[in-house]
Structures are given as C-alpha cells and as structure tokens.
C-alpha cells in the first residue's frame, strides 16, 4: 500500500497514538517518530537511509489548525 494511503486508512489510531508528533511511514508501518514538527529535508535524509523505496511523513498537531492563509 502507498504510505499516504496507509496513513489515511489508519489516521484515527495514528492521531491518538502520535498526537503532537511527526511520523515517518514506510512498508505499512511507522518507522520513526519525532516530538513536534520537523524540517522536511531532515525527514527525507533519515527516510532515505531507513526506507527501501517509498515513504511519507505527517505531523499530528495537538489542536486543529487555526491559521488562515
């Protein structure tokens, strides 16, 4: 399964388990979690070393985003 699709499928349980954290997902599992938001370039650097092929990341903020862009 594509990593983004896997996140979307498990979004509720992931949000409750990793609230306030950034996760990297590959091979249908969470392979790393960080506290808070992380620079995407640093995430890619780590993911390239750990993941064989595709990966993705997401951040679960503690509150819903209130910013107006």
């Amino acid at each position: 399964m594509e990593p983004r699709n896997w996140i979307n499928k498990h979004i509720k349980e992931l949000r409750s388990k990793f609230i306030g954290k950034t996760i990297i997902v590959c091979d249908n599992k969470v392979i790393k979690a960080y506290g808070g938001p992380v620079d995407p370039l640093k995430i890619n650097e780590v993911a390239r070393e750990i993941c064989k092929e595709k990966w993705c990341y997401t951040y679960f903020p503690e509150s819903e985003e209130e910013y107006l862009l």
Binding site: A47, P61, S63, Y67
Partner: protein, 130 residues
C-alpha cells in the same frame, strides 16, 4: 483537509525532496516557507503585490519544479517568511494570542491553483477521492 505527497526539486542537492502538501483550492498560488525555499536553493524571480485590508503585501515569487504521480510540472509559487516562534507548538508559559499549533507551513507546502490547474481532469478528481 486533503494532504498529498509532492516532490520538489532541490537545486542544491540536485534531487527531488518529498513534501507533505496541503491542497488549498482557495489559494491562487503554491506557497513555501522561506527557510525551506532557501534550503532548496530557490531564487525569487519577482514580487507579487497582494492587495488586502490595511496595507499591500509584497510577496516574493519563485518557480517550483514539482513531481506528482511520476509527472513533472513547473509552477509558480510564493515564498512566505514565518516568524520563528510560530514554527513550534505554543509553550505553556507563553502569553500571546497565536494559535497553539505550529504554522502549517513549518513542515508542509501549500498546493494552490498554479499547480491544480495543470492537473488533468482525472488527476484532479482523484485528489478528492477517499
């Protein structure tokens, strides 16, 4: 909220970088945060004048080389500078009126109409399928 994965070209490392992207059909332009744009080696190639209440907002324009679902796109983007304290969660002792969560552009890019308008009808429809 629709999040997708988009690759942006890193002019410094000469390779694509994966970004979580927030699809915003109300945004005319794609938007990237300045420190990320700097790390990707993106140059400003103009200024966009946005007319808003109070005062005009002048925002640097840039060109983004994107890859989405194995297809490449060249799109216009805006570079927005976010104050450092807005890039982290609000601290418990912090007295301010800012939202508690970090600014969405801290670790994401915004995909606006400059990108969405280049997608085929099929690709565009797929974005909203769940």
């Amino acid at each position: 909220m629709i999040l997708i994965d988009v690759n942006l070209w890193n002019e410094v490392k000469k390779e694509y970088e994966l970004f979580e992207a927030l699809v915003d059909t109300g945004s005319s332009y794609c938007v990237i945060e300045k420190s990320i744009a700097d790390a990707l080696g993106l140059d400003a190639n103009g200024i966009l004048h946005l007319w808003q209440m109070g005062e005009p907002l002048n925002v640097p324009l840039t060109g983004l080389r994107c890859r989405y679902r194995k297809k490449e796109y060249a799109v216009d983007g805006l570079i927005v500078e976010i104050r450092g304290s807005y890039k982290r969660p609000m601290l418990s002792e912090e007295e301010c009126t800012r939202p508690e969560s970090p600014h969405p552009l801290t670790n994401r890019v915004i995909i606006g109409k400059t990108f969405l308008d280049k997608l085929s009808k099929e690709e565009y429809t797929k974005l909203f399928e769940r």
